[in-house]
């Protein structure tokens, strides 16, 4: 299933002083995939478009933020 958040598993050294984060994430938003936007793509209703920051679901990129007590 496609997701805009990718994960990787960094090497964990035996002498890392901070508690190791075994799964790291990064964002791959839709503009990396869409290419030249084709005409006639579905649109959000106006009020929802404003709330989401784009008129087109194909360009919508959710970002919830991470827990503030966990490392990036």
């Amino acid at each position: 299933m496609f997701t805009q958040q990718k994960v990787y598993h960094p090497y964990v050294g035996p002498f890392d002083p901070c508690p190791p984060v075994r799964i790291k994430t990064y964002q791959t938003p839709p503009q990396l995939y869409l290419g030249f936007q084709p005409p006639g793509l579905p649109q959000f209703p106006p009020r929802e478009a404003l709330r989401r920051g784009t008129l087109w679901p194909a360009l919508f990129s959710p970002y919830e933020g991470r827990r503030r007590d966990s490392a990036p």
Partner: protein, 87 residues
């Protein structure tokens, strides 16, 4: 003036922000898709709506632009509070 704006100020403002946002999105899209007739028609229809809502907002809450005072008032309303960052 230190009186708060009425509640429907925010409703009407958001209605205008909504229409303007659709226009901004279509505007940028048309900049790279100038031949998309459907998007162009959509843009024109929303511009029409915008004129209505902007006039309604200005007659109720004062000018959005210096020349938008609209009403029959005798005072210069443009520099009256609140400014966008104050509401």
């Amino acid at each position: 003036m230190n009186t708060s704006v009425p509640r429907d100020y925010y409703q009407l403002l958001e209605e205008l922000q909504t229409i303007d946002f659709v226009l901004v999105e279509l505007n940028l899209y048309l900049d790279t898709h100038p031949e998309d007739v459907h998007a162009l028609q959509q843009y024109r229809a929303w511009s029409e709506r915008r004129r209505e809502v902007k006039a309604r907002f200005e007659s109720r809450f004062g000018p959005l632009q210096p020349d938008g005072a609209g009403g029959p008032g005798l005072t210069w309303d443009w520099n009256r509070s609140p400014w966008p960052w104050q509401v």
